[in-house]
């Protein structure tokens, strides 16, 4: 049958429907994610810059007040120490080691967490058995696992990775489970009426629908992984393998407060940068789904 049979109703105005469609399109929400890139970057940057300035100012004031002046360096001393360290290979080597562990540990966490999450969300008896265990693991401070890991794997990278995975995988799994659970029932109905079944239902409906919750789980998993990694590098010191944790530990032994503070700044910056990546992913999804508020 021809799709565009003429309207059977005379609305006296030619192109009535087209006009209404046009008017409706004006009424429809406009794109909010299309502001100029420079404006958006500046909008994101200036509060950060302001916060940094405030922290530095307070820090400098404390330093000027003379509180613990023998051991507590001002921002000037710390920043110049940081600058010096950035010229040496040691800090970069340490950053590389730590970053590699972070990528490896978090990557494994995502893999394992996703598999566990998929199984638990799919198999009912497994959920009853393992569901609350996952939440329990999530609340357990992962640093408590280090004695266990060190006895099991010795002073090794494996011990660190083990603790990262225990700290981070539960969050990833929980994110996926929550996403699957909260797939809107109406969309499930629509999908079933459309004829999506089993695998195709997962592939085309449940997985995309659980993406926002999954990304939230990834973000939380990353925070846990990063914490576990730092704790691990302070506890599991492997000879001839400089890492950020080793540098910190050395600074502690030598009471080098300027260097210790400089390393903390490096750790902070790395953590924030990765968090920003998740923020970008989250923002992209929200814009796509139309959940974004004007930002």
């Amino acid at each position: 049958m021809p799709a565009n049979t003429p309207l059977p109703v005379d609305k006296s105005v030619p192109g009535y429907v087209e006009k209404l469609t046009y008017l409706e399109s004006l009424e429809a929400p406009s794109d909010q994610g299309r502001r100029r890139l420079a404006t958006r970057v500046w909008g994101g940057l200036w509060p950060v810059a302001l916060a940094i300035v405030i922290v530095l100012a307070v820090w400098q004031l404390i330093h000027l007040s003379g509180w613990k002046s023998q051991i507590f360096p001002g921002p000037g001393a710390v920043l110049s120490n940081l600058w010096d360290q950035l010229q040496t290979g040691l800090l970069w080597h340490a950053i590389a080691t730590t970053a590699t562990r972070a990528v490896l540990g978090f990557g494994l966490s995502v893999l394992i967490g996703a598999v566990i999450g998929a199984l638990v969300s799919r198999i009912k008896p497994l959920r009853a058995a393992v569901g609350s265990l996952i939440t329990g693991l999530q609340t357990l401070p992962s640093i408590a696992w280090f004695p266990f890991a060190i006895i099991l794997f010795g002073i090794s990278t494996t011990a660190i990775l083990f603790v990262i995975i225990l700290g981070s995988a539960p969050s990833v799994a929980n994110g996926l489970i929550a996403g699957v659970d909260y797939t809107p029932p109406l969309l499930l109905k629509a999908g079933k009426m459309m004829g999506l079944r089993r695998l195709s239902l997962y592939r085309y409906l449940i997985l995309p629908a659980s993406l926002p919750a999954f990304v939230a789980g990834l973000k939380q998993g990353w925070a846990f992984a990063w914490r576990s990694l730092m704790a691990g590098e302070l506890l599991v010191i492997i000879a001839n393998q400089p890492s950020l944790g080793v540098l910190l530990s050395t600074d502690q032994d030598q009471s080098d407060m300027a260097s210790a503070t400089a390393i903390i700044i490096v750790i902070l910056i790395l953590g924030v940068l990765v968090d920003q990546l998740f923020g970008l992913a989250d923002g992209a999804i929200r814009r796509r789904w139309g959940l974004a508020d004007a930002s």
């Binding site: 003429p6 399109s25 969309l187 459309m194």
Partner: protein, 272 residues
Amino acid sequence: MVRQVNSVTVTDRRTAPPAESMRGSRGAVRLAGVSKVFGRGSSAVRALDQVSLEVPPGEFTCLIGASGCGKSTLLSLVAGLEQATSGEVSTGGSRVAFMFQEPALFPWLTAAGNVELALRARGLGQAERRQRTAELLETVRLTGFGGKRPHQLSGGMRQRVALARALAQDADVLLMDEPFGALDAMTRDVLHDELDRICAGRALTVLFVTHNVREAVRLGDRVIVLSSRPGRVIAEFDVPIERPRRIDSAPVAELAARVTDRLREEMSRDAG
């Protein structure tokens, strides 16, 4: 016009025997003594009670009743989303599509992507999907909006996409659960015309649930009135008004008034 209104028949078909010839034919919907009870024991709620009705292939049937009459439950039973407690629901092996009050579009897909997914679920190849999607968007007059995501469209446009998606399923039976209930009167009026036009070109059986009497008379070949708690078929009105119809025309208004009277009668009996 008066002649048309006079020819309206009111029948009580609760006891009408099922037409054997219709059994199993494609596009026909048949409910025989269907009851649906939610919960059990003292908290059990009887949503539908001994509902029997027949919708011949190609007929546009409107179901009307006060809230709580189990209209939506009835559609869920026909769709197979829920099972009847007793009685028999048959769609004669028809493909069934469902349009909800909310568009229920997938927010991560574009308008075209939503339509295309329904075609993909039917196993169509990519080239054919692309072509059919373009045709369907044209059918609901959304050519040029295929790349938009649901949140970038107005409420009326979203329902058009939902209609295109339902049509993409190439169903014999289209179930519509107050699909225009959340829209403003002008948009709804236009979509009524669109629905008329689209149904005219297809052998589509439609079961349309609404609580708007005028909408029911404007659209339906037949209007079935359900009672409240539990839902029972209490009356049927044939709508012999010629198309094209207008929701504000005299014959529509007159028949709507008679349907409303019947509904009021039922409600006052409930109250008494």
